[in-house]
Assembly symmetry: D2
Homo-oligomer: 387 residues x 4
Amino acid sequence: MLNQQEITQLFKETRTDSELICSFLKTEDYVVQPVEYVSPPKWHLGHTTWFFEEFILKKYAEDHQLFDEHTAYVFNSYYESVGEKVIRTDRGNLSRPSVEWIYDFRRYVTDKILELLETQELSAEALGVMEIGCHHEKQHQELLYYDIKYILGNNPLFPKYNDQFRENPIEDFPKKWIEIPEDVYEIGHKTNDFSYDNELGVHKVYLQDYKISNKLVTNAEFLEFIEDGGYEKVLLWHAEGWDWVNQNNIRSPLYWHKIGQSWHQYTLNGLVPLIGEAPVTHISYYEAFAFAQWKGMRLPTEQEWEIAQKYFEWGSRWEWTESAYSPYPNYQKADGALGEYNGKFMVNQKVLRGASVATSRDHQRYTYRNFFHAPLRWHFNGLRLAQ
Amino acid sequence: MLNQQEITQLFKETRTDSELICSFLKTEDYVVQPVEYVSPPKWHLGHTTWFFEEFILKKYAEDHQLFDEHTAYVFNSYYESVGEKVIRTDRGNLSRPSVEWIYDFRRYVTDKILELLETQELSAEALGVMEIGCHHEKQHQELLYYDIKYILGNNPLFPKYNDQFRENPIEDFPKKWIEIPEDVYEIGHKTNDFSYDNELGVHKVYLQDYKISNKLVTNAEFLEFIEDGGYEKVLLWHAEGWDWVNQNNIRSPLYWHKIGQSWHQYTLNGLVPLIGEAPVTHISYYEAFAFAQWKGMRLPTEQEWEIAQKYFEWGSRWEWTESAYSPYPNYQKADGALGEYNGKFMVNQKVLRGASVATSRDHQRYTYRNFFHAPLRWHFNGLRLAQ
Amino acid sequence: MLNQQEITQLFKETRTDSELICSFLKTEDYVVQPVEYVSPPKWHLGHTTWFFEEFILKKYAEDHQLFDEHTAYVFNSYYESVGEKVIRTDRGNLSRPSVEWIYDFRRYVTDKILELLETQELSAEALGVMEIGCHHEKQHQELLYYDIKYILGNNPLFPKYNDQFRENPIEDFPKKWIEIPEDVYEIGHKTNDFSYDNELGVHKVYLQDYKISNKLVTNAEFLEFIEDGGYEKVLLWHAEGWDWVNQNNIRSPLYWHKIGQSWHQYTLNGLVPLIGEAPVTHISYYEAFAFAQWKGMRLPTEQEWEIAQKYFEWGSRWEWTESAYSPYPNYQKADGALGEYNGKFMVNQKVLRGASVATSRDHQRYTYRNFFHAPLRWHFNGLRLAQ
Amino acid sequence: MLNQQEITQLFKETRTDSELICSFLKTEDYVVQPVEYVSPPKWHLGHTTWFFEEFILKKYAEDHQLFDEHTAYVFNSYYESVGEKVIRTDRGNLSRPSVEWIYDFRRYVTDKILELLETQELSAEALGVMEIGCHHEKQHQELLYYDIKYILGNNPLFPKYNDQFRENPIEDFPKKWIEIPEDVYEIGHKTNDFSYDNELGVHKVYLQDYKISNKLVTNAEFLEFIEDGGYEKVLLWHAEGWDWVNQNNIRSPLYWHKIGQSWHQYTLNGLVPLIGEAPVTHISYYEAFAFAQWKGMRLPTEQEWEIAQKYFEWGSRWEWTESAYSPYPNYQKADGALGEYNGKFMVNQKVLRGASVATSRDHQRYTYRNFFHAPLRWHFNGLRLAQ
């Protein structure tokens, strides 16, 4: 549990980071929503700010004057139990409030929060919500990278985001299998550090003997799958994966482009030739599963991943697991709007473990349970084989 | 493992039962497909017959003369690796082949199979496929009940199916909580009797302490949930359940009708007043989950159900569990077309355990892993609470 | 205006004809609805019967006992102002009432109407509604042919309807251009014989000089268009026609099948090799228009057709015209439910003139204004060029 | 036919006007596309510029250096016969090229065109295309107003565009009926001034006696229709209009909002109380038709409008007519890409006559045939009764 000084530091860094991420954008890039699950960057900036005004300033700051009572509700999100919300698919239709307005809103709320933190000793409860607010904003920082990549990478001009972002770290060490013996193991978040509610409730699981790779699957390996006709072999796929592949005419990971005879990939640094030794990314769970089937292997479960993770490096790709996103034994969701955070998504999604090149460094921990729908691909994901 | 004589007996009974189920239909009832996941009864009769011709007669009967080489492919199903298939949603458009043709086809194949069984000693492999074929037909018998109920129950005239079918057995004993202690338990199909591949691979699991009810939730209890506004309380629902409820304007289980002030339910015996003490049925997983949330409880996992099942009666409702349908450790799918049977559905579905009033008696076992998509309701399902 | 005896004769023939058309069907064929604009044959039989009970017996027969007060409403149609209606797209889901029930219903109503006609002198108004009822049933007879062809012709088994129906009469006379001079002409229904309200209101139009072909376009001519790449030349098409062609991957008229190297067409006599000299049929307005563009010509307007029709033979194909379906000057729609018959369709449809091989002989007249949406093809249509 | 000096003047004014219209926008407003038929303002600015580069500079300017060969294709439009096009519904997803880029593109092309006009004597053909290019841009100026209003008016903050735009001129003179006698009249564009191809081909029509109002229908009159339950009376509507009303839950014109008990309308000056005496606008053809039915009257045909227009004032609303958009007798579409301009839309659209408050002053003429699909409402339309 962080103290008020640590929270202040975390808050400052977090607020600055979000704006740094957006500093490479043109005004126009802040506005568009090319697909339902992508949000306009300005919405992320507004929404994370709304969170602090709604859950901290309105509750803990005496006589707080709202920045703009008629506008902020636009930035409410999936929290159905707090007021009106703007339909998610409409976000890309809204040219106002302007980007300038949003930066004013951010500045106002950041200043008011800092003023509160400097002038008042916050309760443990309030500090807890502050910490959630910071981690919430870090999650949106990661989404900002996904969404910016989608916006620029689906533009026929393929504009680059910047030259610095390192999207494709290479694992340049030999591949080997880590062997874990059958036993009862403990799963879940154990320390006092921050975690989400879905990681809590340390509990035992029984794992059978298994092996797990010390390396992620690479682009070169995935290319072999493509060249062997993996996308055309029905028996490798789930029934709904097969429908998805054919209805959407999927024949390669997202952002791969075959130009003439050579494969390219769009990265945040622009369109570049495919890097064979980099870990494959932007694949759906269906593709990860089909690849593993083709190899005669499988994906690990999230428990297998958690127990084995200390034996390998992780952090460049969110790793698809075989596990469906379900509550841990004795899972209790938090009260009120914050309780909507995790529990309500626990059906028809797959757990991903690890972290990615887009994850804020202090937002990474081995018990983190990320989750996405099986067909989604725009996040920095990847896969690690097990058997 | 059944011997050839037992298989012959099983086959005869199975073939007769399917036709008995359909004996209450008019010709017109065999043809329609009111919704994508319902198949016309004549399709079930043809498809189960096609299975025996395709996987037994073509392979094991010398010089087998196909009943009709131009027609039978219409009855291929989800087995994508065997020839052309008719698009599932088109089944309801086909008036031909006629019902009469299908009964001729059945008679022809049944006779040829019996001839084979009488004149030739079949290999273990062939007997195994015969057994699968019989259980496959029993599964379709259960689907026949679901689909017939849907076809008649969505007709504004509410025609009855017959007077005999017992759809609402009542559990008239006191409710109590069964307590199971934390421990390592064994899961999976252990005997030599028939099972599907998805039940195989006995393995250990660690279960925490839990309690499970000895009774199913009743209509009267579910009505309390409705009357307390359960369908309007967002916090009880999964996010996608909430969307489903609102997009489809769901306010009660399927087949419930409020006529004036009193609730009725359509049953295979026709429209009758709601029977409060009968176990609730025809609800989605979302509704089962929301009901449990409203009670401050939860659904059991499939492992919890399997370990506790010997302490309660089951068999009138397929019971929704919290478990996603995933492969057991070391799951291996069968080779070839039969391998498509189970594995390819192991994503985004929920496991149901037990059996129902529509399940063939020798198709019931406590390791059976049934599965349906979360929003589906037309099967005879129900729910049992855990905590 | 027909007298009561003539109406009786017309009524008897009409009722018999509908049943004769259906006498070639199996029970299953009566039930299905493969696409939204096709109705199950049993619905046509019931609906035309409902018309006579609703608009004649309920109004003019003293103490009329309804055949079945709970069921007949199923057969109400587009008459939104009379009671509840069954949603059109649901018609194919209803296995009940059964075909047998419908024939009983027909017999009951036919007998009651004949009894009324024999025992009571009907008012001019009642005789007028009787006449409309007969012509209404004749229209449904034509739809029965279309729908039966669609049901059987979209079945992969291509069952034939019968051997007698003559679908492809050949115009074996030389092609020539009929020239009509610029002038003021009179348009509209002039006699006392039966007509619909949309033909009434004789009025003058000014026509410029034009030429119109004495022959319909043939299959052989249309094949030239196909072979010249007509379906791939964007400049021949309306913008929405081009979208329609590409979204539906249209490359030939409906019911044409290229088997190996040779074109076949499904007819009510079964699948036969394409008959080059027969008039092309089952094309959309878009295709008719594109063909005419390709020829450097155009379709006639309905007024041009009406003035020129006495110089050519017509009656085997409903002929697409360039005219949108709009009210004639001084058009007045009838009062009440019967007023819904025509006027409410006068937007976004195209007029077709003439008659077809499926049109009842005494339902043909040169002022008849038939109409269909531009993309529809399942009726026996065709085209005649003008310039 | 304008000479080169006049064309130069027209071109300069046109280019300036487009930028003036957009001078009230924020950068964000240029980017969004809230609905498929609205284009982002930056697209209009780019597309009209692309037109001049594609059809003038590439063809008539020696050694023309393209501004950017990789980008301009984004601004191709419905001209399917010129190169690749961006799918229309994707326009709102493109944040690049930026607004700044587009203004650079405009400046470059404007300068190059002016250079061409100053240094070279253009052929009559080239001057003709220049004139079309200017009128094409004027059409897009009108669309800019529609689209800007849609973008701002569908934003929950209801931002105003500016204070100057006069959207609601009032016709403050007595209502009376203009009577036109039956006769043969001449229709079509007769002078040498600019017109589109669809107005050409002067021809005779025969009109019956008719009356037409000297005033447009007002908001107050339309409110009476609403208050009389016009939107709930099925017999007033076309069948597809009735479906449209109910599927979209339409109960008032677009941009009308009932706040408490009083009606407001969103205008380009912001949200204001409904102005009863202003002419109603933003209604569909279906609503115009239903209103006329409710009055026991009808809409005029486009020919009736053209003949009577000299007896009334027009120009504030595009007036829905009863006429479908069809070719005039002897209509010839232009060759090549420019030929796609009008002819390919001549199906399933309705003609509107007159002009609107958003129409460039020298883009108004009484023979102008505007056209929209029946359900569209975002243009400044209105209605005038006839009988």
